[in-house]
């Protein structure tokens, strides 16, 4: 069993985290400039979780995400220009401007969609795992969810059914301690690991700010799920740096809590580790600037996109418009 990551592997994980961090920082600026319609939920501070888990996946594996899903989408490899164009509400967006930030999806890379309903992605991921099992694709499915979803009934239904059917499904919990505006200890009376125990599902808890730890744990449990050992839980303790949504004044949160979050910066941790492995800070910086240039090019292209066509959208409610009158 692998107990350490190579320099190259860690560099690749760091690159994914930089992609997520800088993309969201860019989105935050676009939002402040009034360029992003609707709501924006950023995952800054949580980058190590999607980066570490998606690095353990293969192209055919599938992930279902939640409302804080930019990291999952980017780590799974969605097309960058389409990603920004979608969030900006453009025709060239991955979803042709019909979904926005909360519904970014790219089925070509196994990204089954962010989701506006807390817990909504869980049964979809379970169904995807069932399809992998029945079709013998060799693939697995991952359900990304936050600690807020632990109070949703579907999580408990899904733990039960996934265990009964030994589905190749990873329950990936990003436990950032906040259910929207309320702290976890006022939201959930149990522990996820204990719940897993109750359903006979192995669970691992990991420092969700340490991308190497997340990736090594993910490699183990993804391997187990792929071998046919059934569902697995990976609970990542992580920190949400921003509000529930951009513009959230976070009056419910004190300065100590925010400072504690910023003290566990997954990017700073991985940078330090890379330097300790002998990679120069200069090389890491060059690396990061390459990612930033990619983002800037994608944003520029996305901003040039067209507004979506209303008639085309209205004609695309169904895949196959049947005879008769729909509405």
């Amino acid at each position: 069993m692998q107990i350490e990551l190579s320099q190259q592997e860690l560099l690749s994980l760091h690159q994914t985290m930089v992609l997520i961090r800088r993309s969201e920082e860019r989105l935050s600026r676009l939002f402040a400039d009034g360029e992003v319609p609707g709501f924006l939920h950023l995952s800054i501070g949580q980058e190590a979780v999607p980066a570490g888990i998606c690095a353990a996946l293969q192209a055919g594996d599938t992930v279902a995400s939640n409302h804080r899903g930019h990291g999952h989408a980017l780590a799974k490899g969605v097309e960058l220009r389409g990603f920004f164009a979608e969030i900006l509400g453009r025709e060239e967006g991955l979803c042709r401007g019909r979904g926005g930030s909360i519904h970014v999806a790219d089925l070509r890379v196994g990204m089954l969609g962010a989701n506006g309903i807390v817990g909504g992605g869980l049964p979809i991921a379970l169904g995807s795992a069932l399809a992998h099992q029945v079709r013998r694709t060799g693939g697995i499915a991952v359900a990304f969810f936050g600690d807020g979803a632990m109070a949703e009934g579907v999580l408990h239904e899904c733990l039960n059914l996934a265990s009964l059917w030994k589905l190749p499904l990873i329950f990936a919990c990003e436990n950032n301690g906040w259910s929207e505006f309320s702290p976890l200890d006022r939201q959930f009376a149990a522990q996820l690991g204990a719940l897993g125990n109750a359903f006979g599902i192995p669970s691992v808890q990991v420092d969700g700010s340490d991308v190497a730890a997340v990736c090594l744990a993910a490699n183990r449990i993804v391997g187990a799920a792929r071998r046919g050992d059934g569902p697995q839980i990976l609970e990542c303790k992580t920190f949400r740096w921003r509000g529930h949504y951009e513009g959230d004044p976070q009056k419910y949160r004190d300065a100590d809590d925010l400072a504690a979050a910023r003290n566990r910066d997954p990017l700073a941790l991985s940078s330090a580790r890379l330097v300790a492995m002998g990679i120069s800070a200069e090389r890491i910086g060059t690396f990061e600037r390459t990612v930033e240039a990619r983002i800037e090019a994608a944003v520029e292209a996305a901003c040039l996109g067209r507004e979506p066509d209303y008639a085309a959208a209205a004609a695309d409610v169904y895949t196959q418009t049947a005879a008769g009158t729909h509405g």
Partner: protein
Amino acid sequence: MAEIRYAMAINRALADAMLADASVILFGEDVAAPGGPFTVTRGLQAQFGAERVRDTPISEATITGAAVGTALGGLKPVVEIMFMDFITLAMDALVNQAAKAHFMFGGQCSVPMVVRTPHGGGLNAGPQHSQCLEAWFGHVPGLKVVVPSNPADAYGLLRAAITDPDPVIFVENKTLYSMKGELADAPQSVAIGRARIAQSGSDATIVVYGASVATALKAAISLAAEGIAAEVIDLRSIQPWDERAVLESVTKTRRLIVAHEAVTAFGVGAEIAARVSELAFGQLAAPVFRVGADFMPIPFARSLEREYLPGEADIAAAVRRSLNWKPNARTKP
């Protein structure tokens, strides 16, 4: 041609669909080993194996949400919600996920899933095992809603629903499961969205679906004895519904009655009445009349349920009311 019961016609459609397409799978509460609460899925697990025909725990939200995920994963799931009343527990999966995925993801994907579920009273099953909630789903862009009235249509529409790339709610009336009818030796699909003229007539149009078709046909017999020729249109599906067939009939009869077992208020009848009024007001010789259940939960006691359910006399009375309607006459509310 052979005679077959409605429940067995559905069973045969499921078996034929599974034979024709290895990606069709079934799951739901007690559908596999027990063969379904109304024996609709009897024998299918034995024929197709435990991988393709599965019993689930009592978890409607996850059954339906998993259907979305399996459909996105390249399978064609047909799931069962044991009573339509229980579909309330699956609303997120249907309304927010299944209905929207194709549109919301910019046409990247389809969600080819079918939810089979029985509705309807007549079994004294009480307020939480008898409701007709199909109008709710007709209101949601992205869903299709099919309600077959006889064994041949149950077969043909279910085959069409399973082949359809979009999510379909397939509603079976519990009192129809024992209904007998003819089924061709090599039965075909029936296109969703096309109505059927169950009986031709020239004096008034009665638009119905599901079990109300048989009720309307009985009403038409009693009306015929009075010299009234009613035309009965079986919608077969309510989302989409065959507006053209209804308008053609109304152009001929100039009178329209829409009848269903579901509660009248905010129902399918209200939608059709409004639409026909918008499109063919000048053709109508009388207001469109609706026949449906009173605005109350379905009661349990035999006497209460009998009075609650709209029957042939209610439909016949509505037709007479239409024929007797005089302009400027004040009608009692």
